[in-house]
C-alpha cells in the first residue's frame, strides 16, 4: 500500500521528483522500478550497490555473446553479481517478452537489443524509462526520445567490395554509380530483413523511391546471410560488390588480411543496439548498475575493441566522421518500415518494378 502510494507520488514529472527525493527524508530510499530508475540523488550509486547486493544478479535478454567481455568485466567489478543471459534475435526476443508480460511472467531485468527490437516492447509499455549520470556524454540522437533506451553500440552499412576483383580506384563511390550498366548482375545484398529493409529505407529517404526501383533492374543477388557472412563471401571472392556491408566487419577482416574495401557515401543507416530496463524488473538495482556500466567510457571502449562504434562523444570512432541516420528515431518509423519492407519485397524479391 505504502509502496503504491510512493510509486504514485514518484510518477510526478521529472524535476519535481528530484526535489521531493532530496527534501523528504522518508523518500530517500527509492522503491519500485520506476523510482529507482529515475533517482538522481547524490547517493544513487550507493543505493544501487546496496540494492544490487541484495538482488545478487540480473537476467539480460540479448542477441548474442558479443557482450561477453563486457559482462566479464562487470562481474569483476561487482563480484557479488551474476549476469544471466537468454539469447534470441531482436524480433524473437520482442515477441517473447510480449507474451511473457501478457501472461504475467516478469523475470527479465534488462535488454541489450537492436533498437528495432525495442520499439514494440516500448509501445507495449514493457520498457521503463531511466536516468543515468552517463547520459550526458551521449549524442542526443543516441537517446530514445522518452529515455526508454540508449544506444550503446552501432555500426554502419556502406558499399563494400573485394579489392582483388575490383581495385578501389575502379569501385563505385556513390550510390548513383551503382546504376551504371557495368554493375548489372555483379551486386549482392544481405537478405536479412532488418539490414535489407533499413538499407532500402535509407535509399528512399536520401535518393527517393525511383532510385530503389532502378536499382531493382540491376539484378542484385539476395543472399539470406547476415551482413557479416556476406562480407565473408566477399572475402572469398564469391561476391564482388555489395551496398549492405558493415564497416566494422570490413575493418576486422582487413586486419586479418581479407581483400576488402569500403565506402560510405552520403548519410549511412545506423544499425544500433540499445540498452533498456524492464518495467517490472525483479532486480532493478543490479540492472541499472549494468546499464550504467555498458554506457560508461570503460564499457564503450570495450565495445569499440569488439569492432563496434560508440555514440559517446568522448570515445572517438569512425562514426564521428559520418553523417548518420538513426532510423528508429523517426516519428513514423513503424509505418515507414512496413512501406520499405513492401518496396524491398516488390523490387528485390518479386522483381515487380
Amino acid at each position: 500500500m505504502i509502496r503504491r502510494f510512493l510509486t504514485a507520488r514518484l510518477a510526478l514529472p521529472g524535476a519535481l521528483i528530484g526535489a521531493l527525493m532530496v527534501s523528504d527524508a522518508a523518500l530517500a530510499q527509492p522503491s519500485g522500478v520506476e523510482a529507482i530508475a529515475n533517482y538522481t540523488g547524490a547517493d544513487r550509486l550507493k543505493i544501487l550497490e546496496e540494492g544490487a547486493r541484495r538482488e545478487g544478479g540480473l537476467l539480460l535478454y540479448t542477441t548474442g555473446t558479443q557482450i561477453k567481455p563486457l559482462i566479464d568485466r562487470f562481474e569483476q567489478k561487482y563480484p557479488y553479481l551474476r549476469v544471466e543471459l537468454a539469447r534470441a534475435s531482436s524480433a524473437d526476443t520482442a515477441r517473447k517478452v510480449l507474451e511473457e508480460y501478457r501472461a504475467g511472467y516478469e523475470k527479465v531485468d534488462a535488454f541489450e537489443l537492436a533498437s528495432h527490437g525495442l520499439v514494440v516492447p516500448r509501445d507495449e509499455n514493457i520498457l521503463q524509462p531511466f536516468r543515468s549520470p552517463e547520459l550526458a556524454a551521449f549524442a542526443a540522437d543516441a537517446i530514445e526520445a522518452g529515455r526508454h533506451w540508449v544506444v550503446v553500440r552501432e555500426s554502419y552499412t556502406g558499399i563494400g567490395f573485394n579489392t582483388k576483383l575490383l581495385p578501389p580506384d575502379r569501385a563505385p563511390k556513390t550510390y548513383q554509380a551503382l546504376l551504371e550498366p557495368q554493375w548489372k548482375g555483379k551486386m549482392a545484398i544481405s537478405g536479412v530483413s532488418t539490414t535489407a529493409v533499413n538499407w532500402v529505407g535509407t535509399m528512399v529517404i536520401v535518393h527517393g523511391g525511383d532510385f530503389v526501383r532502378k536499382l531493382g533492374q540491376q539484378n542484385i543477388r539476395i543472399y539470406n546471410l547476415t551482413g557479416r557472412a556476406l562480407a565473408n563471401l566477399m572475402t572469398a571472392g564469391e561476391v564482388m560488390l555489395s551496398p549492405t556491408i558493415y564497416n566494422s566487419h570490413v575493418a576486422a577482416s582487413a586486419e586479418k588480411g581479407a581483400p576488402l574495401g569500403w565506402f560510405a557515401p552520403g548519410p549511412v543507416p545506423v544499425t544500433d543496439t540499445g540498452v533498456a530496463l524492464a518495467r517490472k524488473a525483479p532486480h532493478p538495482h543490479a540492472a541499472l548498475l549494468f546499464i550504467d556500466f555498458l554506457m560508461s567510457k570503460e564499457g564503450q571502449i570495450l565495445y569499440q575493441e569488439l569492432g563496434y562504434d560508440s555514440p559517446r562523444s568522448d570515445v572517438a570512432g569512425a562514426g564521428a566522421r559520418m553523417e548518420k541516420l538513426y532510423l528508429t528515431n523517426r516519428a513514423n518509423y513503424i509505418r515507414e518500415y512496413e512501406d520499405w519492407a513492401k518496396l524491398y519485397q516488390d523490387v528485390f524479391l518479386r522483381r515487380r518494378i
Binding site: 537476467l59 542477441t63 548474442g64 555473446t65 558479443q66 561477453k68 544471466e84 543471459l85 537468454a86 539469447r87 534470441a88 534475435s89 524480433a91 524473437d92 520482442a94 515477441r95 517473447k96 510480449l98 507474451e99 511473457e100 501472461a103 511472467y105 528495432h116 527490437g117 520499439v119 514494440v120 549482392a188 537478405g191 530483413s193 529493409v197 543477388r221 539476395i222 543472399y223 539470406n224 546471410l225 547476415t226 557479416r228 557472412a229 556476406l230 562480407a231 565473408n232 563471401l233 572475402t235 572469398a236 571472392g237 564469391e238 561476391v239 564482388m240 566487419h249 577482416s253 586479418k256 588480411g257 581479407a258 513503424i334 518500415y337 512496413e338 519492407a341 519485397q345 524479391l349 518479386r350
Partner: protein
C-alpha cells in the same frame, strides 16, 4: 506370403478380441497425440484466420487471399519441381546404394555407411555454405577449375538455379534415404532373389522384377518422407534459391514472418495450412498402397541366411557408385575442414599452408557457453529422441497391425506437425506454458523436450513405420501362441526386429534437436541455453572458419555415435536372421 499369414491365423473370436483391444489402444494413443498436437494446430488455424492488430483481431480469409495473390504460379511450380526433383534424386541414389550395401558384394560398403551416419552430423546450413564454396558461380572451386578449361567469366556450373537447388537438397537427403532403407533391405529374405537368379534372371532383371516390387512400400514410405521434407525444407531454398531469385513456399513463409517488427504469423500460418493440404494428398495415396501390410512383410518366420549377390564384372563400377555418399559428404566437408584452419576463408591455394592453425578450434572450445550448452543439448536430445521413438514405435506398430479408420487418423495427426513452421511451433508452446503456470516447465529444458517431441514425431513415425512394415505378422502370432501378452510381444519380438529402424529414428531426432535453431533459441531460458546458440552466434557473426570448426567437431562427435549405431544395428541384424 499372405498365404502363410492365413495358414497361421488364430480363431476368429480371439482375433476379434485382439482387434478390439488394439483399437482401444489406438484410440488411447490418438487421444494422447491429439492433446499434444491440437493446441499448436488450433493456434495455426486461428493465426491463419486472424487479421488486424494483435490485441483485437478479426477473422477472415484475408491471409489466404493475400498468400495466393502474392505467391503466383511461379512459386508453386518452383516448390513442386524442387520437391519432386530432389526427392527423386535422393531416392534414386539412396535406395540403389542401400541395395548395394545390403545385398551385394560391392566394395566400399562400410565407407558408405559411415559417411551416411556422419553426414547427419553436419548442420544443413553449414553444408550449404560448403556447397557454395565448391560450386559458387564466381569463386566456387569446381567452377574455378572448370573455367581454366572452358573459359568464361562466371560458372559454367550455375549453383543458384532450380537444378542447383535440386542437386544440393538431393545430396543432403541421399544419406537419410540410404539409412532409412538399409535396415529394411538388410532384413529381406534373399530366397526370392536367389530364385530369380536360378531362373536365369540377370542382375538388372532381378533388381527390377523382384527386389524393387518387394521393397516398394518401404521405399514409397521413404519417398513420401523425402518429398514432404523437401516441401518444407528451408535452408537450401533460402541460401541457394534466393540468390537465383527462386522462391518456394517455405521461403515465402520465412519472408512473411520476418519482415516486420515482430514475427508475424498470419500469412505464414495460411501458407502452412496450404502446405498441409498438399502433404495430405501423398499421405492418403500412401495409405491406399500400404493398406495390406502383410503383402510387404519381408521379415518372416522362415529361417534364412542372407547371401550376398555376386556382382562379378559389375563389382568395381558399382562400387564406385557407392562412393557417391562419401563424396557428397566429403566434398563440402573437406573444404570446411580446410576453412576451419584458416584465419579468413579464401579459395585454397598452396601458399595458404603457412596460415593454417588451431585458433578457430581453441576459440570455439574457449567459449564459456560451449560446455554448458553441450550438456543441456545432449540431455534435451536424449529425452526428445527417447520420447519420440517410444511414441512413434508404439503408434507405428498399432497402425500396421490393426484395421479401422482410427489408425489412419492416428498417422495423420502424428504427421500434422511436419508443416508447422519452427517459429510458429515455438511461439505456441511458449504461450501454452506461460498460460499454464501450474505445469512449471517454462524456462527449463523440458519445454524444449516437449516442443521437439511435437516437431520430430512425424519423422520418428516414418522411420518406425518403414521398419514395421517389413515384419511379418506371423512372428508376433508365434509369440502369442506361446502365451506372451501384447506388451511382451512388442518388447521381445517386435522391438528387436525393428531395432535398426528404431535406432536410426533415435539418432535422427537426437542429432536434429541438437542443432535446431528456430525452436531452441526461442524457448531456451537462462538456465537451459543450448549448443545451437553457439551456432547461431557464429552464424550471425558469419565467421565461416569458426563455423567450420564447429561443423568438424560435431562430425567427430557423431562419428562416435555412428559407430555405436552400427554396432546396435549389427546386433539387431543378428537377431533378425
Amino acid at each position: 506370403m499372405s498365404e502363410t499369414a492365413l495358414a497361421t491365423s488364430a480363431p476368429w473370436t480371439e482375433r476379434l478380441h485382439r482387434l478390439r483391444s488394439g483399437e482401444a489402444a489406438i484410440y488411447l494413443l490418438l487421444a494422447v497425440v491429439l492433446a499434444v498436437v491440437l493446441p499448436p494446430f488450433l493456434f495455426l488455424i486461428r493465426a491463419s484466420l486472424a487479421v488486424g492488430s494483435d490485441a483485437a483481431p478479426r477473422y477472415g480469409l484475408d491471409n489466404f487471399i493475400a498468400v495466393v495473390a502474392n505467391s503466383g504460379a511461379e512459386l508453386w511450380i518452383t516448390t513442386l519441381v524442387y520437391a519432386l526433383g530432389s526427392s527423386v534424386l535422393a531416392i534414386a541414389l539412396g535406395v540403389s546404394s542401400a541395395w548395394l550395401v545390403a545385398r551385394t558384394d560391392a566394395p566400399f560398403r562400410q565407407v558408405a555407411v559411415i559417411a551416411a551416419v556422419l553426414s547427419l552430423a553436419v548442420p544443413v546450413i553449414i553444408k550449404s555454405i560448403g556447397w557454395i564454396m565448391l560450386l559458387g558461380p564466381n569463386s566456387g572451386l569446381v567452377n574455378v577449375v572448370l573455367r581454366t578449361v572452358v573459359g568464361g567469366e562466371e560458372g559454367p556450373l550455375q549453383l543458384y538455379s532450380l537444378g542447383g537447388m535440386i542437386f544440393v537438397e538431393g545430396m543432403l537427403w541421399t544419406p537419410v534415404v540410404f539409412l532409412l532403407t538399409l535396415p529394411v533391405l538388410g532384413a529381406m529374405d534373399p530366397s526370392l532373389e536367389e530364385a530369380a537368379a536360378t531362373s536365369g534372371a540377370d542382375l538388372r532383371q532381378t533388381f527390377q522384377r523382384v527386389t524393387l516390387p518387394l521393397m516398394r512400400p518401404s521405399v514409397f514410405a521413404v519417398f513420401l518422407l523425402a518429398l514432404i521434407r523437401a516441401l518444407e525444407s528451408f535452408e537450401v531454398p533460402l541460401l541457394i534459391g534466393a540468390p537465383g531469385n527462386l522462391h518456394t513456399l517455405t521461403t515465402a513463409i520465412y519472408e512473411s514472418i520476418h519482415t516486420g517488427f515482430l514475427p508475424k504469423y498470419g500469412e505464414a500460418s495460411a501458407l502452412a495450412i496450404l502446405l498441409l493440404l498438399i502433404v495430405s494428398a501423398p499421405l492418403a495415396f500412401y495409405y491406399r498402397l500400404t493398406g495390406q501390410a502383410d503383402r510387404f512383410a519381408t521379415i518372416t518366420g522362415k529361417g534364412f541366411r542372407p547371401r550376398r549377390l555376386k556382382l562379378g564384372a559389375w563389382r568395381r563400377p558399382l562400387g564406385l557408385w557407392l562412393l557417391i555418399i562419401p563424396v557428397a559428404l566429403a566434398a563440402p566437408l573437406l573444404i570446411l575442414v580446410w576453412a576451419s584452419f584458416l584465419p579468413v576463408y579464401k579459395p585454397p591455394e598452396l601458399a595458404d599452408f603457412a596460415l593454417l592453425s588451431f585458433t578457430n578450434y581453441r576459440a570455439v572450445w574457449g567459449r564459456p557457453e560451449t560446455l554448458a550448452g553441450l550438456t543441456n543439448s545432449v540431455l534435451i536430445g536424449f529425452w526428445s529422441a527417447t520420447a519420440v521413438v517410444a511414441l512413434t514405435f508404439t503408434a507405428a506398430w498399432l497402425t500396421v497391425r490393426y484395421r479401422g479408420s482410427a489408425r489412419w487418423a492416428l498417422d495423420v495427426v502424428i504427421s500434422v506437425p511436419l508443416v508447422f513452421p519452427g517459429i510458429v511451433l515455438g511461439i505456441t508452446v511458449l504461450i501454452q506454458f506461460l498460460r499454464t503456470p501450474f505445469i512449471p516447465i517454462y524456462g527449463t529444458i523440458w519445454i524444449l523436450v516437449f516442443a521437439f517431441l511435437i516437431r520430430f514425431m512425424p519423422y520418428g513415425m516414418r522411420f518406425c513405420h518403414a521398419g514395421m512394415l517389413a515384419i511379418h505378422r506371423e512372428l508376433e502370432e508365434c509369440g502369442r501362441t506361446c502365451g506372451a501378452g501384447a506388451l511382451t510381444v512388442l518388447r521381445r519380438i517386435v522391438l528387436p526386429l525393428a531395432l535398426p529402424s528404431v535406432a536410426a529414428a533415435w539418432l535422427y531426432v537426437f542429432l536434429h534437436t541438437i542443432r535446431d535453431l528456430s525452436i531452441a533459441i526461442l524457448l531456451a531460458g537462462p538456465g537451459s541455453q543450448v549448443i545451437a546458440v553457439v551456432i547461431l552466434d557464429l552464424w550471425n557473426n558469419g565467421e565461416v572458419p569458426e563455423l567450420a570448426a564447429v561443423a568438424v567437431l560435431m562430425a567427430a562427435g557423431v562419428a562416435v555415435l555412428g559407430v555405436a549405431l552400427m554396432w546396435v544395428s549389427r546386433r539387431a541384424g543378428g537377431v533378425a536372421t
